[in-house]
């Protein structure tokens, strides 16, 4: 029996009437990887924020190595040897790796950096944990995987005993994720303890010793990883069995969207370089890739936000009305934007107002394109809210009050009600809970059955493998050929995401 290094005792945190954490008791043993699993809003982040003193718990206490951690003090948590690697890195791109790691550890009054000892210590840490990084490289020039290694080194340099990783694989290719898991294993062998926050089941099964599942602010269960499997964990997380929809084989129809030699955007990784892609009716084509490799530019061109590009984009044989979102919608494109809050809806407006946003000047909802026809707009909103099962108080409710899942249903209602022939689904299930994910995916499959061509952009390989007829990989703005999903393996796609050519693939 190893000793307990961290213990939560009955931690409760309320926000108004919402109980974010309800009497959470949890312990972490030395040399253990504890996975914290839960849907968005289950209370994972709140719990970590309490640990780091960003919030104060209403009840309960936290013990580190048997000593009570003073509440509300970030410094106390750091002093107690707790380190955290956030999903969004906190590094300065214009400083070197060494400078980033030393930042904040030095006296403000020292005249010259004493780097000799630091270099020696870093070299030893890198050796011990397999975290090879060039300490003199500028952080801005590093890949995302390398930056994460710098973040971990930064924590280790400060002699952490407990490392918390918040959704660490969200920005990694599968190979980089495997490297991370190997690092974690070597860390725990040296007696460090790790809390690994994730909602990806296969990672949790791969890396953790024990899983604690949070659901609606409570511990829904704890289980030894060796005794768990995907179904068991999913059920614990959601509270019921949820089956995600599956793709059934269908014969593709005519070409709906034809992209030829499309180049657009900046010259960096985000710009598109000679992209070719054809999507047929009854077909879902998935695009895999690490965030920031041109997905946004492609989505912006197809949704009408970016009108300047070279090459051609044809829709049902005619040219796509580039740079004009309303014309694109009118010509039969349904668009699900990447970011619900920033692009999808105006939170301060009412549901019915958001539902008419894309065609407000049409005869359907306005008189002569000048005056809003409130009656018809409300009627249509009522029908759409019912058809897409948006749980709300009615069409007059304020949109920002909707849950993430219902907000996404609202966007689906707007995009899919007109039965578009082409659907751009950009991260359609990001941040949704299992029930909502299943609903969104069912709707996409329903549209495919009806005859829509669908472009699915996702960072979740499992989702792409499950829903796509064909998969293409985007890296540095170049899109690979879209091959049938059955002809690809996850490992292959991972290599291509990292920019490496795969045998048999045209460069």
């Amino acid at each position: 029996m190893t000793s307990t290094v961290l213990e939560f005792r009955g931690v409760t945190k309320r926000f108004g009437t919402l109980v974010a954490n309800n009497s959470i008791s949890l312990s972490l043993a030395e040399g253990e990887v504890l996975a914290l699993l839960g849907e968005n809003g289950a209370g994972k982040t709140t719990l970590m924020n309490i640990l780091f003193g960003h919030y104060q718990a209403d009840e309960g206490e936290i013990l580190v190595g048997g000593n009570r951690l003073p509440p509300g003090s970030t410094q106390a948590a750091l002093d107690a040897g707790i380190g955290m690697v956030h999903q969004h890195f906190t590094l300065a791109g214009n400083l070197s790796v060494l400078e980033n790691i030393l930042l904040g550890t030095e006296s403000l009054f020292s005249i010259r950096q004493q780097t000799g000892a630091a270099r020696k210590k870093l070299a030893r840490l890198a050796e011990d944990y397999g975290l090879a990084v060039d300490t003199d490289a500028l952080v801005g020039s590093l890949s995302v995987g390398e930056r994460q290694r710098v973040e971990i080194l930064k924590a280790l340099y400060r002699d952490v005993r407990i490392l918390i990783l918040d959704e660490p694989t969200a920005v990694l290719t599968p190979q980089e994720a495997d490297n991370l898991f190997a690092t974690l294993k070597s860390m725990t062998r040296q007696g460090l303890s790790v809390i690994f926050i994730s909602h990806k089941l296969h990672e949790i099964l791969a890396v953790s010793d024990r899983v604690a599942v949070l659901r609606r602010g409570e511990i829904a269960g704890e289980i030894e990883t060796a005794k768990a499997d995907r179904h068991k964990l999913a059920e614990m997380m959601v509270g019921r069995t949820v089956t995600r929809p599956k793709l059934t084989a269908m014969e593709p129809g005519d070409a709906v969207l034809e992209i030829k030699d499309l180049s657009a955007g900046k010259t960096g990784a985000e710009g598109l370089k000679k992209v070719n892609l054809t999507i047929h009716a009854h077909e879902i084509v998935g695009i895999a890739g690490v965030a920031g490799n041109g997905q946004r530019t492609l989505a912006d061109v197809l949704s009408g936000l970016q009108g300047s590009f070279s090459g051609s984009v044809a829709l049902n044989g005619g040219a796509l009305p580039a740079g004009d979102p309303r014309a694109i919608v009118a010509s039969g494109v349904g668009r699900i934007p990447e970011d619900r809050h920033a692009r999808g809806v105006v939170g301060e407006m009412q549901l019915w107002e958001n539902l008419i946003a894309e065609d407000i000047r049409s005869q359907d909802v306005s008189r002569g394109g000048l005056i809003i026809d409130r009656g018809r707009a409300t009627d249509r909103a009522n029908r759409q809210i019912e058809a897409f099962d948006v749980r709300c108080e009615g069409p007059d409710a304020e949109t920002k009050l909707l849950s993430g899942g219902n907000m996404q249903k609202l966007i689906l209602a707007r995009a899919l009600s007109r039965e578009p022939s082409f659907i751009l689904a950009n991260q359609p299930v990001r941040g949704l809970d299992e029930g909502a994910i299943a609903y969104v995916q069912e709707q996409l499959l329903e549209a495919r059955k009806r005859g829509a061509a669908i472009l699915l952009i996702s960072e979740d390989l499992d989702e792409l493998m499950a829903l796509s007829d064909r998969i293409a990989v985007i890296s540095h703005g170049r899109l690979s050929e879209a091959l049938p999903t059955s002809a690809r393996t996850t490992a292959e796609i991972g290599l291509m995401m990292a920019g490496q050519p795969v045998a048999g693939e045209a460069a």
């Binding site: 809806v345 946003a357 894309e358 000048l370």
Partner: protein, 349 residues
């Protein structure tokens, strides 16, 4: 002490926010009044009497509210689209310049045409003045707060030059003022006594029009969407830059109307003291009205009453009229706080 968001904001609570704010502001100013050695109740009584205590007082308060309704609407419309037009004062004078240029004999039309003509010209002048800042904003991301604010001084200096020089009225006995608006262009007074003129009815009608536009029209929808969330507006196909430019034209036009109304309604001619900062006070009006065009009317009348009442109060007891500025400033600050409190609650433990 912690601050938490409220689950929902009731309409009553939101509507009462300015009322609480005004009471809070009066409480703050009470301290200053006590400092001068005057009884607070006496002072506020005199203020109320000075603003509403007689037919003459009410007449004056409403007259003074006319330019504030226009400049309040100008700020309310622009701020809705998150276009921070601080140049109401300059646009007001641009409107007054247009009224003077066209209304002092250049063109003579019958009254029922002359008045709308001057109004339209003033609105165009106010809008055009804002064209440069708004294009700098939408094309080159130049901050409009700086450009609109600084343009005020440019316009004021231009007015000073014109009324001291080429436009100076030879009949003015040396006073720096422009020629009088011809009789056909003068806004008639509404009552036998007092200075209240047609501008009040026009201002109220335009406030209702702007309210309806924001609420029922596609343009109003697009202005609100751009102000709340430009990213989502752009995604849904609203041309954000164009909407901001149109909003700015409306806003500048409304402020220009204030200038026409003051020149052709109240004074009859252009001087440099045409506006004691109506353009800036309009921002306070809009904030007090929480950018609602209909609420601009009572907000403008309230601020007008504070100024008119404070004048009367300072004549009766020994309190400087500057107390009015303090009261207005405190009211606006209190409104901003009360809006916060209608959305958040403070919990002590």
């Amino acid at each position: 002490m912690i601050i938490e968001p409220r689950q929902s904001v009731s309409l009553l609570r939101a509507g009462l926010a300015p009322v609480w704010a005004i009471l809070a502001a009066m409480l703050i100013c009470a301290v200053l009044i006590i400092w001068t050695g005057t009884n607070v109740l006496t002072a506020y009584g005199l203020l109320l009497k000075g603003a509403f205590g007689s037919a003459f007082a009410i007449n004056e308060t409403l007259t003074r509210s006319i330019p504030l309704i226009f400049t309040g609407l100008a700020a309310a419309v622009a701020f809705r689209a998150k276009f921070y037009n601080i140049g109401g004062e300059g646009q007001l004078y641009a409107g007054a310049l247009a009224a003077t240029y066209f209304g002092t004999g250049l063109i003579t039309l019958p009254s029922f045409l002359m008045i709308p003509f001057l109004m339209i010209m003033g609105a165009i002048a106010g809008g055009l003045l804002l064209l440069v800042p708004v294009l700098l904003k939408t094309r080159m991301k130049v901050d409009e707060v700086v450009t609109t604010l600084l343009l005020n001084f440019v316009v004021l200096l231009l007015v000073g030059y014109l009324i001291e020089g080429p436009w100076k009225d030879p009949m003015s006995l040396g006073w720096p003022q422009a020629a009088s608006i011809i009789d056909e262009g003068v806004l008639p007074t509404l009552l036998a006594k007092g200075r209240l003129h047609l501008g009040f009815i026009i201002a109220v009608a335009i406030a209702v029009l702007i309210w309806a536009m924001m609420r029922f029209s596609v343009l109003g929808y697009e202005i609100r969407a751009v102000g709340y969330n430009a990213g989502a507006a752009e995604f849904s196909g609203i041309k954000v830059g164009r909407t901001v430019v149109i909003t700015a034209m409306i806003s500048g036009g409304l402020a220009g109307l204030a200038g026409v109304s003051e020149t052709a309604g109240l004074k009859g001619y252009l001087t440099l003291d045409l506006s004691p900062g109506f353009g800036y006070t309009g921002i306070a009006v809009a904030m007090l009205a929480q950018l609602n065009a209909l609420a601009v009317i009572p907000a403008a009348i309230f601020l007008s009453a504070v100024y008119v009442g404070a004048d009367a109060m300072s004549r009766a007891v020994n309190i400087p009229t500057y107390i009015a500025d303090v009261l207005v400033g405190a009211s606006v600050l209190a409104v901003l706080c009360s809006v916060l409190f209608s959305q958040y609650r403070v919990r002590f433990r």
